[in-house]
């Protein structure tokens, strides 16, 4: 179970999260929606352990463990995974080298043996094919020359490989056409399990047509201001975020 209690966080002295509370039991998928600047991406980065984000108050525990005490790599080993909104391009690091290094680091951290190269190759190829990631893409440097959609599919590929127990997806649908949303959603849905919790961070409800959440929360000015079932997302789609502090476009 993910428990976030009274979370306050700031970046460069600017207070962004101002007392956020949320609880996601194992097996559930929750969505956080909210206007731009409400703190959605800050929450994602705080969960993954980005150093620029300072938690000034509150707690985050995952299955009872205090993750705020952990380094980003320790969190990954403990099962936390953030699918980035903007995955960084790293020229010079081969995608396959990266995937193998990450997978083995996580496996070793969890007390499992490293995968042999043939086993690793088989695993990646099978998962990549499901996500329609071409072998050519995997030969490129990490995220370099990937389209927006390819980057997001690659994030989901990593998620499938690392088998996290807490998946945080930050605007995974942004910049995707409808076919790509479907492919990505199928990948995410295949990971739904009674042992796994998921947090979807999104501005639009479109993704939630494909990954149907158990609960929807509205984040505004650093706090959860409303929670409800999936119908809340549709309501927001109708009315927009005007009442939550964002000007209508």
């Amino acid at each position: 179970m993910l428990e976030i209690k009274n979370l306050h966080a700031e970046v460069d002295g600017e207070k962004i999260l101002k007392g956020l509370n949320i609880t996601i039991p194992k097996g559930e998928v929750h969505a956080i929606m909210g206007p731009n600047g409400s703190g959605k991406s800050t929450l994602a980065n705080v969960l993954a352990g980005k150093e620029d984000y300072e938690v000034t108050k509150g707690s985050i525990t995952w299955n009872g463990a205090d993750i705020l005490e952990m380094s980003p790599e320790e969190r990954a080993i403990a099962g936390v995974f953030l699918a980035f909104q903007y995955p960084v391009e790293i020229p010079g690091v081969a995608t396959m080298t990266f995937l193998r290094t990450a997978l083995n680091a996580v496996r070793v951290g969890r007390g499992e043996p490293e995968l042999t190269t043939p086993d690793f190759m088989r695993l990646v190829r099978a998962k990549a094919e499901e996500l329609q990631i071409s072998p050519d893409m995997l030969k490129r440097p990490l995220n370099v020359g990937f389209s927006g959609g390819e980057k997001k599919r690659h994030e989901v590929l990593q998620m499938e490989l690392l088998e996290p127990s807490l998946c945080v997806l930050d605007e995974t649908d942004s910049g995707l056409d409808i076919d790509a949303v479907r492919i990505v959603s199928e990948g995410v849905n295949s990971l739904r399990s009674p042992e796994r919790a998921m947090l979807l961070i999104t501005h639009y409800q479109r993704l939630l047509d494909y990954i149907v959440p158990d609960q929807v929360h509205v984040l505004s000015d650093g706090k959860i201001v409303r929670s409800g079932d999936k119908s809340l997302a549709l309501e927001l789609e109708e009315s927009g975020y005007a009442e939550y502090g964002e000007q209508a476009a």
């Binding site: 993954a48 980005k50 790599e73 960084v88 790293i90 290094t101 990450a102 996580v106 951290g109």
Partner: protein, 449 residues
């Protein structure tokens, strides 16, 4: 006017003159008038200018006059008995596995019993510099010192004055030498020595060759290695040229490459530097024939108080040519890396396409990267560009890797390897590329230790 009195002020500067006087009669070619005059003239040239100081623009960041404390006497010919197994151990498994023609120089003296000279074909010629100076072939006399030489260059003058050995090679037109020629320099002397080597390579039209120059120390003692290579590349020839400098931390390494590229010829050069306390690599490249293309790149990894300077001058003399340069410097502790890159496009060199990039990665607060790119363009229809960056390891990249479970040290290593790797990937030979990536990985291991 007595220029010597004005020019030679330091102990090292005067030391070279005294050492030359003492060694002159014993140097290879001492009985040959041409060789003798070549050396004497070089010494006169040196004496007129002395060692370069920071007042010489090209040496602004590497004040050799100040940095060179004394001049070391030329290394004696025979120091240690080395066998093939020793050479393999010195090279390491990766490089030893490279299938090549090896030419071995120990303390600047060519060891015929360890070397393989069978690569020039019936119509070509491959001899040692020592032999060539004693009985110089006509073609050597005609070309020596004339392949795109820099003006008033004291280091090069000292090279000609003291040169002891190296290879003199004429590759006939059309010959493709399939295996790389690997010139391996090993420093063994237990006392401080001067090592001066010189290579002269003339490559016929349409010929194809890969030349590798590598530098290793088995001794911990200090040394001053001055090496120069002239490369005259004929029309349509394809040449790969790689330098690997892994000398010990007491070494001074001064290298000069002079290259002239004929029409439609291709030249791919790479310099990898991780050794020596003080090193300078000067590369003078004339893109002299129409339609030629060159890629000159490199990487240097330095730590402690190491100082390395790559100074590159590319002259675009002919039209429709292309040149590319990518240099990467990884610097930690108090190390200092210098890159000076000058591209000059001459008036007739229309349609020149020249691009240069130098990037420094600073791993400590006290490391320093000095980069001076220069473009001088006298033609009006060209595409030229240069860039330079200097920075630290990117926080966003670090976070991305760590968020995937990769530990901090390993993530840093991956990013440093990636940074240097971008340049190393330009090397065509896969074995060589892997050897260099392996050296980078090894360098990083020492870092994390």
């Amino acid at each position: 006017m007595d220029m010597q009195a004005n020019a030679l002020t330091t102990e090292a500067e005067q030391g070279f003159v005294e050492l030359y006087d003492a060694a002159r009669a014993k140097l290879p070619g001492a009985d040959n008038a041409w060789a003798r005059e070549l050396r004497d003239q070089a010494m006169r040239d040196y004496a007129a200018i002395g060692l370069p100081s920071r007042r010489v623009e090209e040496w602004k960041y590497t004040d050799l006059r100040r940095l060179l404390g004394e001049a070391y006497a030329p290394a004696p010919a025979l120091s240690e008995a080395l066998g093939h197994d020793d050479i393999r151990a010195i090279l390491g498994d990766g490089l030893a596995a490279l299938d090549c023609h090896s030419v071995i120089l120990v303390d600047g003296h060519l060891r015929h019993e360890l070397s393989d000279f069978g690569f020039a074909g019936d119509k070509g010629e491959a001899i040692s510099l020592g032999e060539a100076l004693a009985t110089p072939p006509k073609w050597l006399k005609a070309g020596f010192g004339k392949v795109n030489p820099p003006k008033s260059e004291a280091v090069l003058a000292l090279n000609a004055a003291f040169m002891s050995d190296g290879i003199v090679l004429r590759i006939p037109a059309g010959l493709e030498i399939t295996k790389p020629i690997h010139i391996i320099h090993v420093h063994t002397a237990k006392r401080p020595v001067g090592i001066t080597t010189r290579n002269f390579v003339s490559i016929g039209k349409g010929a194809k060759v890969t030349l590798i120059e590598s530098f290793f120390s088995v001794s911990d003692a200090a040394s001053q290695h001055n090496v120069a290579t002239e490369l005259d590349i004929g029309d349509g020839a394809q040449v790969s040229h790689v330098k690997l400098q892994c000398e010990n931390q007491e070494a001074t390494h001064l290298a000069t490459w002079m290259t002239r590229l004929g029409a439609s010829a291709g030249y791919r050069a790479f310099q990898f530097t991780t050794g020596a306390a003080l090193s300078r690599s000067q590369i003078f490249l004339a893109v002299a024939g129409e339609g030629a293309s060159a890629n000159v790149s490199g990487a240097f990894l330095l730590r402690d108080r190491q100082h390395h300077d790559t100074t590159l001058v590319v002259d675009h003399v002919a039209a429709h040519c292309e040149s590319r340069e990518l240099f990467k410097a990884v610097l930690e502790d108090d190390a200092r890396g210098v890159f000076q890159g000058k591209i000059e496009v001459h008036p007739h060199a229309q349609k020149t396409d020249a691009k240069q990039m130098a990037q420094g990665l600073l791993l400590s607060e006290t490391a320093e990267f000095d980069s001076k790119p220069e473009l001088i363009i006298f033609a009006d229809d060209v595409v030229c560009g240069h860039g330079s960056t200097s920075g630290q390891i990117d926080d966003e990249s670090m976070f991305y890797l760590r968020s995937r479970g990769i530990g901090e040290a390993q993530a840093r290593s991956l990013l440093i390897q990636a940074f240097a790797g971008e340049a190393i990937e330009l090397i065509e030979d896969e074995v060589l590329r892997d050897v260099l990536l392996g050296i980078v990985a090894n360098w990083l291991t020492k870092r994390n230790a």
